[in-house]
């Protein structure tokens, strides 16, 4: 809400500099977005009298002026303008002056002649015709009257106003106007508040002879007032009104339109004027639009309406979109003679809904959406009539339509001063509380500590003691609040076990050289195609965002791999060619479609790896580390993810539950992301891992008896996974097996085609005794037998 400071002074005493006013208003809950001082950027420009003009010898258009600038000696200034005469009063920018566009004027020579400044046009001073008559004239601005030479030009032009832009919070629609702000200033500064007291003369007649007004839907229009003004005398509005309107960012049009806008800015209540003679059937009906109706609004646009929208109709058609914009048909024009004036309250959600569906937002609709006060409707109407009367803009017909289904009573809050200060923790003297509330327009009667507070409808936001506490404190001052250390029983703050586990996983991955990333929770709907997921893949069941920022952010992700591939691509593209990345976030799985309840949000870990020393097995190492941290028994299986290399991928089961997929990214998918090198990704269902209850650690004594190491070298089919050999070794060695280690795999010379040589070291140990030769032999024989059973033949 932009307000002229000069205009505010009509309502309230302001006895402090504008900066202090703004600081104090901020501390009372009114943020200041900007302070614009008119003429602030004009420096060292004065009114000056042209004493003498002589032509310039070396130029056919330059003239040399001797200027009286209020100094002892005249000053010589060269100008190119032709519209000046001796004895004219003009603005002169002296040596070392500044103009609004930032120009710095200094003394110099123009074609060899000294010029100690510059004569200015209205444009150069940043003003327009509405600021000063003649400002738009091409050439130098000729000042009216005979201002004393040397007077600051801002003073001469009346550029002495300051415009303050207050940010009004959503709970205070009553302050979205001059009077609301002025009232608060009065309380903050402790000065007098003088609101206008409307009064006006009517010229007789009876409104009921001229028009019939009817409200069909009080639900959407709780109050509707109408008056008629005849014999309009349309002309310009007075300068003070134009200045106030301009400061608030609206344009002056004519006295009638300006009065409706001014009253809206002053009282917060939007007004609408209809051209009386365009009202068909001389009826005004507040009703819902009929199916198929349309309206052409003031700005010339046509809108099709539906029955949810409220209109002000005449006898034939909608004439105004209630609370939003008037119709073209009944617009006030320069030749309009009679008008019907409306002041009303429309329900805010309906105005909001209609405005949204039609895509219109106006100064008026914004105010109705935030809420206008039902009692203020009448005040605004009276104020508008007062201005019409005072400015002699027309003849006010006797009689008023005031349609409503009852007006609300003031809200009474019974409370004690203790209850108010209890929330704040600061002792505020009882009489201070009462005084602040009364000054704020919340009439309060004290009976000891008991308060009876009457809240008028314009302060609908004040509902109970918490609101009263805020009202008191923002005036008394939040600086009175002194911080106290946390009190209460001493307890230790706890983290959820899931968070504790995730922290451990993150610590492990960081220790393994991986960087944590953060990516959006929504991705493009087409990402599942890029991953080549099958038509019936459940990850295609993505939840759509109804109002996404764009297609690339349009669905909630069901997997994190897409985001990881994007990050890998970004980095590779920027020549960050080696890296390990991970992210812990959620995948969103709908319980059903169409989505009606909250989806499952499942913790997911994604790992991505790229680099010359990286391969499937470094990724596998990271995955295994995570599994081990979570206490999972893992099992690797062949998998068939379409986005992974068909021969380099695996599915992992953790305690027999599918828990992860990892592998090298399929070259076709990598190419779709613009990735050239081999990259490796894993997607791990953390929800499965976090659910595993890790066994409690119990110390096992260190072995007392020696281990026996045996090496086994064998030949087997090239395609036989070593995992099969390991299973065979494990089952053969049984409980004696302490560990095994693969130490060689070889194909090539001396090995038959289609075969490979594999070598393991195996450690056998008993916890209870040194193994006998016989025990060792038996175990070894069993291992060999098991190995042979899976097709491995011991090399001799």
């Amino acid at each position: 809400m932009k307000i002229s400071l000069n205009h505010l002074k009509n309502y309230v005493g302001i006895n402090v500099p504008v900066e202090e006013l703004c600081d104090r208003m901020v501390m009372a809950g009114f943020e200041v977005e900007s302070i614009e001082k008119q003429g602030e950027d004009i420096q060292n420009v004065v009114a000056a009298k042209i004493l003498k003009i002589t032509p310039h010898e070396n130029s056919d258009h330059l003239q040399i002026c001797m200027m009286d600038v209020g100094q002892a000696e005249p000053v010589q200034i060269v100008t190119g303008a032709q519209n000046i005469h001796e004895n004219d009063y003009v603005p002169a920018a002296l040596h070392d002056s500044f103009l609004p566009n930032g120009t710095h004027i200094v003394a110099g020579k123009l074609r060899g002649v000294d010029s100690n400044g510059m004569l200015c046009s209205g444009e150069e001073l940043g003003i327009t015709e509405s600021d000063y008559e003649g400002a738009s004239v091409h050439g130098i601005l000729i000042l009216k009257g005979t201002p004393a030479p040397g007077t600051d030009i801002c003073e001469v032009l009346g550029l002495d106003d300051t415009v303050i832009d207050f940010k009004i919070t959503a709970n205070r629609p009553d302050c979205n106007c001059f009077l609301g702000v002025a009232k608060e200033i009065a309380v903050v500064l402790g000065t007098e508040f003088h609101p206008p007291v409307p009064s006006y003369q009517t010229t007789g007649g009876n409104i009921r002879d001229l028009i019939r007004v009817e409200v069909k839907n009080f639900e959407l229009c709780p109050r509707y007032m109408g008056r008629v003004v005849k014999n309009l005398r349309i002309k310009e509005s007075p300068e003070w009104m134009q200045k106030a309107i301009l400061a608030s960012g609206m344009r002056p049009i004519n006295n009638i339109v300006d009065i409706t806008n001014f009253v809206m800015l002053e009282t917060g209540q939007p007004m609408h004027a209809f051209n009386y003679n365009d009202i068909a059937g001389k009826q005004i009906i507040v009703r819902n639009a009929a199916e198929g109706e349309s309206i052409t609004t003031l700005d010339g646009k046509q809108y099709n309406l539906d029955p949810s929208m409220l209109v002000i109709a005449d006898g034939e058609r909608p004439s105004c979109l209630a609370g939003i914009m008037g119709g073209k048909e009944s617009e006030i024009e320069a030749d309009t003679t009679d008008l019907f004036l409306e002041s009303a309250k429309f329900r805010r959600d309906n105005v909001r809904h209609t405005g949204r569906s039609l895509g219109i937002r106006t100064e008026a609709s914004g105010r109705f959406e935030r809420g206008v006060d039902i009692n203020n409707v009448a005040f605004a109407m009276d104020r508008a009539l007062q201005l019409i009367d005072e400015l002699d803009a027309g003849d006010i017909i006797e009689g008023v339509y005031d349609l409503h289904e009852g007006l609300p009573e003031d809200r009474i809050i019974e409370v004690t001063t203790d209850k108010i200060t209890e929330l704040i923790g600061v002792e505020v003297p009882d009489d201070t509380i009462v005084s602040i509330l009364n000054r704020l327009g919340l009439p309060t009667i004290a009976n000891g500590k008991h308060l009876t507070c009457r809240v008028p409808s314009i302060r609908d936001d004040v509902e109970g003691r918490a609101d009263l506490a805020e009202e008191v404190m923002r005036i008394y001052g939040y600086d009175h609040i002194i911080g106290k250390p946390m009190r209460g029983e001493v307890v230790r703050g706890k983290k959820l076990p899931e968070r504790v586990k995730c922290d451990k996983i993150k610590a492990f991955l960081c220790g393994a050289g991986a960087r944590e990333i953060a990516t959006y929770s929504f991705i493009g709907s087409g990402a599942v195609d890029t991953l080549r997921l099958a038509e019936d893949d459940s990850r295609r069941k993505q939840i759509k965002i109804i109002n996404p920022l764009g297609d690339e952010y349009s669905v909630m992700r069901t997997q994190l791999t897409t985001s990881m591939l994007t990050v890998l691509a970004t980095n590779i593209n920027r020549k960050n060619t080696d890296g390990r990345y991970f992210e812990i976030s959620k995948r969103f799985i709908a319980k059903s479609f169409p989505i009606a309840e909250q989806p499952d949000e499942l913790a997911t870990l994604s790992i991505g790896v790229v680099g010359k020393d990286e391969d499937f097995f470094t990724l596998k190492g990271l995955v295994e580390g995570v599994m081990q941290l979570c206490g999972a028994h893992t099992q690797y299986e062949v998998s068939h993810e379409p986005y992974l290399h068909p021969g380099r991928q695996a599915a992992v089961k953790a305690n027999n539950q599918p828990a992860a997929v990892l592998g090298e990214v399929h070259p076709a998918v990598a190419a779709a992301y613009g990735i050239e090198p081999r990259v490796y990704v894993a997607e791990i269902k953390l929800d499965v891992l976090l659910a595993i209850n890790k066994r409690k650690t119990v110390f096992k004594p260190l072995p007392k008896f020696p281990a026996v190491e045996r090496d086994f070298a064998m030949l087997c089919d090239k395609d036989l996974p070593v995992g099969e050999l390991e299973k065979a070794i494990a089952s053969g060695a049984g409980r004696l097996l302490e560990r095994m280690e693969l130490f060689d795999v070889y194909e090539g010379e001396q090995i038959p085609a289609g075969k490979k040589s594999v070598a393991y070291s195996i450690w056998l140990r008993s916890a209870n005794a040194t193994l006998s030769d016989k025990e060792i032999e038996t175990a070894t024989a069993k291992v060999i037998a098991k190995l042979e059973a899976v097709g491995a033949e011991l090399r001799k």
Binding site: D479, A512, E516, I517
Partner: protein, 339 residues
């Protein structure tokens, strides 16, 4: 004989001085002290001495032998020491050569900041809870005192998934879930992701992070709120940071305040960072609105509480002087490695 002994001693000393290898010394030892060595030879001649002379002479020979042995040992040790020194010298390396690479990973700066805050609030007895990111209208708005037609809904552009389902616009939704499941005294924080339909630019992201704090107990006041936030500000911005409350409006708190801290850049004098104000706005807070308490089945006449919502991304960008919030979600390795 005595003269002979002296001569041997002198010869040995001289030979020892002129020997330069361990091999020379060994030969020397054999020559003088070996079975056929010169000193041994003298001992063998002892039989020709008178019984009176014999012990005297024996002692002299033994002394000479011991002396010679010690000299040889010293010489040997000296030479070994020299050899070791020589070897170590030859093994010197260029310590300015690059290290063998052991990559150090790291958390995303957002989570580093979240973890710091968790640690701080945990130490003040706050439990850390989580809430769903897809919320119902009920938890995100209705119960937070933002009914359907309320203009405050305009303050937050919301992503909708269905009529009644949305991406939470604030971690405050978790307040309600907490109050529904726990009874006072309540002391929780809820860090997490929130979403608003903001176009992406240097200071706006549709995905960002908040940390919600909630305390409900008997007799909780705004002084308690200020005390906790002062702790927070001292931890995050330095121990001489001042905290200022400014009246504001949030539908779910009453009274509501914007919380400013004195600018850590200029100490409150006013600079470019704080736009000359001397204060930087860091979070919104207030006393939990009675309607919100009621909605969660807590009697506002008996209990009161405070809540605050901290914008993590803002604190992260301020702490590390990150100029563009988009960098946080781009995940360029050269960015990530700096934290």
């Amino acid at each position: 004989m005595k003269e002979k002994l002296e001569a041997i001693k002198a010869a040995a000393r001289e030979a020892l001085n002129s020997s330069s290898t361990e091999h020379d010394i060994e030969e020397l030892r054999v020559k003088f002290l070996g079975k056929k060595g010169e000193l041994t030879a003298i001992l063998k001649q002892m039989g020709s001495l008178s019984p009176e002379e014999r012990p005297q002479m024996g002692q002299m020979v033994n002394e000479a032998k011991q002396k010679l042995e010690a000299l040889i040992a010293d010489k040997k040790a000296e030479m070994q020491k020299k050899a070791t020194e020589l070897k170590l010298k030859s093994e010197a390396i260029d310590i300015t050569m690059p290290a063998k690479k052991i990559s150090v990973g790291g958390l995303h700066p957002i989570n580093t900041v979240i973890n710091d805050m968790i640690e701080l609030f945990q130490s003040m007895g706050f439990d850390v809870v989580d809430g769903p990111e897809v919320e119902t209208d009920h938890y995100n708005f209705e119960c937070l005192n933002v009914p359907a037609d309320h203009p405050a809904r305009d303050m937050q552009d919301t992503f909708y998934l269905a009529e009644n389902l949305l991406l939470r616009t604030q971690t405050s939704a978790a307040q309600i879930r907490t109050m529904e499941t726990r009874k006072p005294p309540i002391r929780v924080i809820c860090p997490g992701r929130v979403f608003r339909a903001d176009e992406v630019d240097a200071t706006h992201s549709p995905v960002f992070h908040q940390l919600e704090g909630l305390v409900v107990d008997k007799g909780i006041t705004m002084c308690d709120l200020k005390g906790v936030l002062e702790q927070f500000a001292h931890e995050i911005y330095g121990s001489d940071t001042k905290v200022r409350f400014r009246p504001s409006f949030f539908p779910f708190t009453e009274p509501s305040v914007e919380v400013d801290v004195s600018c850590s850049e200029c100490g409150g004098k006013g600079c470019r960072v704080c736009k000359g104000e001397g204060w930087i706005e860091i979070l919104g807070a207030g006393m939990v609105h009675p309607n919100v308490l009621k909605c969660c089945g807590i009697d506002p006449e008996e209990y009161s509480g405070f809540a605050f919502g901290i914008g993590i991304d803002r604190i992260t960008t301020t702490r590390y002087k990150i100029s563009d919030i988009r960098l946080l979600f781009e995940n360029d390795q050269r960015f990530l490695e700096q934290f």
